[in-house]
């Protein structure tokens, strides 16, 4: 198995006729992802690489059993797109779009949470489960196998680029990934790292998880609590980037939108200390991920 996406995914693309969405649709189909429908209001009846386009999700649902949606619409249209997906019973929504107004993000996260809908992103590059030949979004680009080969390690990162780089390090260490998740770089995102850990815990395929952490947020505090409570009992290998930010005046954002240090919990040094205490294997340098992974999976 894998988590979140796999052979059971029935995928809808919102904004499928856009430039980037069209390109990525082809990539996904080539890889084997079950993309079955697309929506662009006013373009109903057309098709993109053989995928039928509908005017509304409601209309698409008449022909397909959809459970997953990828949102490629412009920032101003994201709130409405997500509300439409939630209302039509989509269970997993991946928001690729970045630079969404914060008020819109708040308004779309609320009803999703209330209905038990899993939101990944905004500002995610996607999710991939290589053994299932299922990738959602641009993740892996046009040469997926360079970074993402089937294996037993889960990967979690805010940064889309580092989702790829971490998965490549896993491959370099002699393993592959079960599922790699780019959770998104925006300040307000739907899925925080600690909420993915129980999924990886239950997944038979996954034997360890690699986490790429950045300054800001209380994510690693929550991850540490999951390790201590036993909610996640497999090896967790973590790397915390951005230690240089601690030597700069506060109030500057480096990296992703939420990477502003507010209080002690957001400091890379505090995160490293907290994760180590909780039993995570923390890489001092990024290259150490390789020996740590080999040690954990020996």
């Amino acid at each position: 198995m894998a988590i979140l996406v796999g052979k059971g995914s029935q995928v809808l693309i919102q904004g499928i006729t856009g430039r980037e969405a069209t390109m990525v649709t082809k990539q996904m189909l080539d890889y084997g992802t079950p993309v079955v429908a697309g929506v662009t209001p006013g373009r109903g009846g057309q098709n993109v690489d053989g995928v039928p386009v509908y005017d509304t999700i409601k209309a698409a649902c008449k022909d397909h059993q959809l459970n997953t949606s990828i949102v490629y619409v412009p920032p101003a249209a994201v709130l409405d797109a997500v509300l439409e997906a939630v209302d039509n019973g989509i269970e997993l929504i991946i928001i690729i779009t970045e630079n969404i107004p914060q008020m819109d993000a708040l308004k779309l996260l609320q009803p999703a949470q209330a209905r038990g809908v899993q939101i990944i992103g905004p500002n995610s590059v996607g999710i991939i489960s290589p053994a299932e030949r299922c990738k959602l979004g641009a993740i892996g680009g046009d040469k997926v196998e360079r970074c993402f080969v089937p294996g037993t390690v889960g990967v979690i990162s805010r940064s889309g680029g580092m989702t790829a780089e971490c998965s490549w390090m896993v491959k370099r260490a002699g393993y592959g990934v079960s599922t790699s998740v780019s959770i998104g770089g925006d300040a307000l995102i739907g899925t925080k790292p600690h909420t993915l850990l129980p999924l990886f815990e239950q997944d038979d395929l996954t034997e360890a998880v690699v986490l790429f952490a950045e300054p800001g947020t209380g994510f690693e505090e929550q991850v540490s609590a999951s390790l201590e409570s036993g909610e996640f009992s497999k090896p967790l290998i973590a790397y915390v980037a951005g230690r240089f930010t601690e030597h700069l005046p506060s109030g500057t954002v480096f990296g992703h939108a939420a990477a502003m240090i507010e209080g002690d919990a957001g400091r890379p040094s505090s995160k490293i200390e907290r994760l180590s205490q909780a039993g995570a294997l923390v890489a001092e340098q990024f290259d150490e991920i390789i020996p740590l992974l080999q040690q954990a999976l020996r």
């Binding site: 590059v125 770089g185 947020t217 990296g255």
Partner: protein
């Protein structure tokens, strides 16, 4: 976020029917004294700068007559507050304060709700107060889909002990401030203090307002009041930063190219994306390198954007090498990166055979990119080395090109 100066912020408060002191901005001491005369003494004179703690910095003063107003305004207009030269002062009627309270609305990122923070004490450091007297500060989460009902506004102040006319007035202000927060896509709206005057009217004595930069497209009225890019600096933007923001905005349709200048340093840091830049900065410093700047490139920028950023990075005085590295890209095209960088080196007349350049660029179209780098005489690395190894190589190259590199200024 983008900061709005106090006079503009107060203009928005007034528009939303929240009372403010009579006031006027002035760019010269003479104009300030003239305004003070019109407003009537005593007056407050405040530096118009986009940072807090002005009182502590001595950038707020009071004047009882025209001469004092002239003196104080002249002094403040010559100051620099947290790196910001004071170009304007706000002259305001000095309030006769009977009582001060505190009110702010913000986005609580951890709770993913709008948060209203209120206190029965004003003019205070709210973080400190909530640590020392948690009973005097309240925090209330609001679901933005529901909004703020009137009864909730009254509850908030009532729970803090407000009664009678003040309770009604403060509740009305809260409802209006919430409306303004939503209407203008604010991320922070703070009134500290909210003053009850001796005449029993309630007036916003200060206003801190931050606007969500991602929402500026639907806030045309604020276009002249905010400075884009002001979220990324603890000091005013440098000339180079300003010119690179302009260059990046000119072709906003694709890709980001952010640049933050450091004091000193000798390695031009041209890296991406958001996560990898953080990692590479740590790795380069650990290896003994001294970055002259920070940057993040991502989102598949066109060649021209890469070119502008690279030229900007190389133009900073003291830059003696170029570190060009990226995570393995999902969509950023390495051939466009290569073309932009080669064009910038060319334009600057830099010979990569003597000037240390390290390239670690792998991902989309990297074979084409490799050929462009090699044809330009630049040593190329893709996914044959890790990010850490690229940082080590950069410092090694600096040491080889400049045998006294470890004795340069800034070396530890």
């Amino acid at each position: 976020m983008a900061r709005i100066l106090e006079d503009h912020g107060k203009g928005l408060l007034a528009e939303c029917k929240i009372p403010i002191p009579t006031g006027k901005a002035a760019a010269t001491a003479a104009a300030a004294a003239q305004s003070a005369q019109e407003i009537g003494f005593p007056v407050a004179i405040k530096a118009l700068v986009p940072v807090g703690k002005r009182g502590k910095a001595g950038a707020i003063a009071f004047a009882d007559n025209e001469k004092e107003a002239l003196d104080r305004a002249e002094k403040i207009l010559g100051m620099t507050v947290s790196g910001y030269p004071v170009e304007q002062v706000l002259v305001e009627q000095k309030l006769a304060i009977a009582r001060e309270i505190y009110l702010s609305i913000t986005i609580d990122k951890a709770a993913q709700r709008v948060a209203i923070v209120a206190s029965s004490l004003g003019g205070v450091n709210i973080e400190q107060l909530s640590r020392e007297h948690p009973d005097k500060v309240s925090k209330t989460h609001i679901d933005p889909l529901v909004g703020l009902p009137g009864y909730k506004a009254i509850e908030i102040w009532s729970d803090l002990g407000l009664t009678g006319k003040l309770l009604r007035q403060a509740s009305t202000i809260l409802i209006r401030l919430y409306r303004m927060f939503v209407r203008y896509d604010a991320t922070l709206a703070e009134i500290n203090p909210l003053v009850l005057t001796e005449e029993e009217t309630i007036v916003a004595a200060d206003c801190v307002l931050n606007i969500d930069e991602n929402a500026l497209y639907r806030q045309p009225a604020l276009a002249d009041s905010v400075q884009p890019g002001s979220d990324r600096a603890w000091r005013p933007l440098t000339e180079l930063e300003k010119s690179l923001i302009e260059a990046s905005a000119k072709e906003a349709y694709r890709g980001t190219a952010r640049y933050t200048e450091f004091d000193g340093g000798d390695i031009g840091f041209m890296c991406g994306g958001g996560g990898a830049s953080l990692l590479l900065m740590d790795a380069l410093s650990r290896a003994g390198g001294r970055p002259a700047n920070y940057s993040e490139i991502g989102g598949n920028p066109p060649e021209s954007k890469v070119y502008s950023l690279c030229k900007g990075i190389l133009s900073k005085p003291g830059v003696k090498g170029l570190f060009l590295a990226h995570n393995i890209t999902n969509n950023t095209q390495i051939d466009l990166m290569a073309k932009g960088v080669v064009a910038a080196l060319d334009e600057m007349g830099i010979d990569p055979k003597v000037f240390p350049v390290v390239v670690r660029e792998a991902g989309t179209h990297d074979e084409e990119g490799r050929q462009i780098f090699i044809a330009a005489g630049i040593e190329y690395h893709g996914d044959d080395i890790t990010l850490d190894e690229a940082a080590l190589l950069m410092v090694e190259k600096m040491r080889r090109a400049y045998p006294d590199y470890d004795q340069w200024e800034g070396a530890e």
